[in-house]
């Protein structure tokens, strides 16, 4: 394998606490090494006047699987004029809000991302998720199976059977090649199978006699019982509704009861996703207001929580979530086409196109809340930038979101030119914030932080010798920072170089190599569990529509696997 030495660049790496110092980065056999370890034949890359960071890590996006693909095919209008072949070693790339797999891989890579977490994998559809991951070029990927409405889980946790819950989680991760525990609208999505919902953490789930609070707490306990690399990853109840910040705070407080226990250097027990959608005050959309400050006061005080923002980008997009009742509700508001799939014993999903308009006050307030969350975050290692792609906007807008966060002038220009600017300023606190996120903080929010939260900090998210050589070089000179947001946007849209596993995959925004993407999953060994085995056999025999023998994801669906194995057998 080739050796490289990247010279004269400004390095930003929270792992080593390097804040823009000039430092050479050497690469050998796909790893970062000390500069002294590469031979004289190492290819030299001149990064003078450029910014060097580790490859960025996407912690929450809907990029592969059944609902993403339904979003693609039921929206031909999303790509009628947006399907192109770009220069380089690429296939045709299509789609604005829900890009095809090819566009997904290339666009992440062009922005300097080397890893993406598919945020919701229905176990029954795991094979579909992996087929798409297989076809997505360059970036490493993993997927989180959903558990918050799974019948096994509901039945075990009704009786607080943590060990059985943990054994079942281990079995599902193995069957689906999954990465961790995702919860979406706990209990509410099962209720949706009868057309109902759970809007607080104490609403009982129909028939199952359990509450969302019990589901979340039980899953956190099971997650730590297993010591998984990532914590539970939760999309809370009552998403998107005015006044929901109270439910959000109730849910976040559940994290106080559980202590982190793992060998991966992870400190949180709960990752709260797309917090923007959960930080609303007011009683209706007529008087909706930001509660970002209140929510962040709590998050800042509780180190057992990480979160991602879910920034609204003010684009036409396609919302999609396993929160089935929410999408039904959204469609009753905007009357656009509505796709829903209820998945037996496990989950559901809904999809509705949505246009976030700068002229609509609610949308502008949502935009402000997303930015406030990041700007109020005291610890950038616990706050990650997302758009909950494609829900609050396509991930291809990350450079713009970054420009709003890094350049107060650009942000305020946007704020002050909304149609109802006075109202937006009144209902939010964004106008009072002058903080600008630094390149070092950005490296924490997009690299070191997500890596730590995902339990991948040993090999990813930093530039320390020994770590994986996933490296992004941007045309940003820290000694002469851009003064305009659009310059940041341009630089973050197209890397000067992207190294993936020590190979140059993107050069000057052009894809030059498809790399060798890997699928990450977690293989946990647990004590043999007769009860869970019995329940699996019974449920497949009686209630599933497929046989157990046809449920798992065959190995050849993921030809390059990065398996994190752990032993959770308890004596």
């Amino acid at each position: 394998m080739s050796e490289y030495i990247i010279k004269n660049g400004h390095v930003f790496d929270p792992v080593q606490k390097i804040k823009g110092d000039k430092k050479d980065i050497a690469i050998k056999d796909g790893k970062i090494v000390e500069a002294s370890e590469v031979s004289s034949s190492a290819k030299s890359i001149n990064a003078k006047g450029k910014t060097i960071m580790a490859g960025a890590m996407e912690i929450h996006a809907h990029v592969a699987g059944p609902k993403v693909n339904a979003g693609r095919w039921f929206r031909p209008e999303d790509k009628i004029f947006d399907s192109h072949k770009k220069p380089g070693m690429t296939r045709i790339e299509g789609g604005k809000s829900i890009p095809t797999v090819f566009k997904t891989g290339y666009e992440y890579a062009r922005m300097g991302y080397t890893f993406a977490m598919e945020a919701a994998m229905p176990p029954l559809y795991a094979r579909h998720v992996h087929e798409e991951i297989h076809d997505t070029p360059i970036i490493d990927e993993a997927a989180l199976p959903v558990f918050g409405n799974n019948w096994f889980i509901l039945e075990y946790l009704k009786n607080r059977e943590i060990e059985n819950t943990a054994a079942y989680i281990a079995w599902i991760l193995n069957q689906t090649k999954g990465y961790g525990v995702k919860i979406v609208n706990p209990g509410g999505t099962e209720a949706w199978a009868w057309g109902l919902n759970c809007l607080t953490i104490n609403d009982p789930v129909p028939y199952f006699e359990i509450t969302p609070a019990e589901i979340v707490t039980g899953l956190m306990e099971a997650n730590e019982y297993l010591g998984l690399p990532h914590s539970v990853h939760i999309h809370q109840n009552d998403l998107g509704n005015p006044g929901n910040y109270k439910v959000t705070l109730d849910t976040l407080r559940l994290a106080e009861k559980v202590k982190p226990k793992n060998d991966f250097g992870r400190d949180q027990v709960m990752h709260s996703t797309h917090l923007q959608f959960h930080a609303y005050g007011g009683e209706s959309f007529a008087n909706i207001e930001s509660k970002a400050k209140e929510v962040m006061d709590y998050v800042n005080s509780n180190e057992a929580i990480t979160f991602d923002t879910g920034n609204v980008t003010l684009d036409e997009t396609t919302t999609m979530t396993a929160d089935g009742p929410f999408e039904h509700h959204l469609c009753s508001l905007n009357h656009l086409k509505w796709f829903n799939v209820d998945v037996e014993l496990e989950t559901a999903a809904g999809i509705v196109p949505y246009v976030y308009s700068p002229n609509v006050s609610v949308n502008a307030i949502q935009w402000a809340i997303g930015l406030e969350l990041a700007l109020y975050a005291k610890d950038p290692m616990r706050c990650f930038i997302t758009t909950d792609h494609p829900n609050a906007g396509p991930f291809t807008r990350y450079p713009r979101v970054m420009s709003w966060l890094m350049c107060a002038k650009t942000r305020n220009e946007r704020l002050n030119t909304f149609k109802n600017a006075d109202k937006i300023i009144d209902r939010t606190t964004l106008a009072e914030i002058d903080r600008e996120i630094s390149l070092y903080e950005l490296a924490a929010m997009t690299r070191a932080g997500p890596a730590k939260s995902l339990g991948l900090s040993k090999d990813f998210g930093g530039l320390k010798p020994g770590m994986n050589a996933d490296i992004a070089i941007y045309n940003i000179n820290p000694e002469k920072l851009p003064t305009k947001g659009e310059d940041y946007e341009k630089a973050f849209s197209n890397v000067a170089y992207l190294f993936k596993d020590g190979k140059i995959c993107v050069k000057d925004g052009t894809v030059v190599d498809n790399g060798q993407k890997k699928t990450f999953w977690v293989d946990v060994k647990v004590n043999p569990n007769k009860q869970v085995r019995h329940d699996v056999v019974e449920k497949f025999l009686k209630y599933y529509s497929v046989n157990e023998g046809n449920y798992s994801v065959p190995d050849d669906y993921a030809p390059h696997q990065h398996i994190i194995s752990l032993d959770a057998t308890h004596a």
Partner: protein, 266 residues
Amino acid sequence: MKTVTLTVKKEPELYLECETLTPDAFAGKKADEIAKIPAYQGREDTTLGEYFSIAGQAGASAAETQIIINGDCSKMKYIGAKMSAGEMIVNSDTDMYTGGWMTGGKLVVKGNVHSFCGLGMEGGEFIIEGDAGNYLAASYRGDWRGMQGGVLRVKGNAGSDICTFMNGGEVIIEGNVDIHIGTHMEGGKIVVKGNANRRVGGQLVKGEIYVFGNINVMMPGFKHNRDVELEVDGTKAVFAEYLGDLGERHPKRKGETVYGKLYLKK
């Protein structure tokens, strides 16, 4: 205004895609430059000059450009698509997407047009002197934003699925139409001076449809409201006004439900 005249010199073996055949693409160009404008036949990249002899020259802008096309264009797609200004006269039949997504200017086709013409039209004037195919002035697949504005007149008949998801503008069919007229319509106006076959105004939310002749089968979701005297496209007459589609959702304005309206000439 300056005029460019195109005369077909070679018939395409398959179909020629010429979305570049618009005043917008021609503006500021001389005949020899226009000849080099790309056109496509399947995988083969070709030029307009390969298929047309070109005379005259374009104006400085689209608005100052008139294009006249002679010869058989029945195997040419996208003529006038996305045009924003200027004038085009096609002395022939044309194929699909003629005048699709046009936003302004005037397009006259002296012959018949195939399907998907005036698709997603936003503005301008589009006159078809012959017959039109299916999906005239409809939305592109999946789009809830169909015709938004402008005027489209067909002097002959039109096919089925016309004006699907129409939101605005006006379409006048002087002849007959087939099935599914104004499906999912949420605004705008359709006038059919001949007969309509069936399924007129299915899932109609808002907007107006006028039929001068007969409708073979009325949708069950329409109910007679009143008779009213109106002047429609120069014709004064008494029309029976129906409200519908009563099976569909309808917006409310000041507490009153707003229905779609179907007028049948008595």
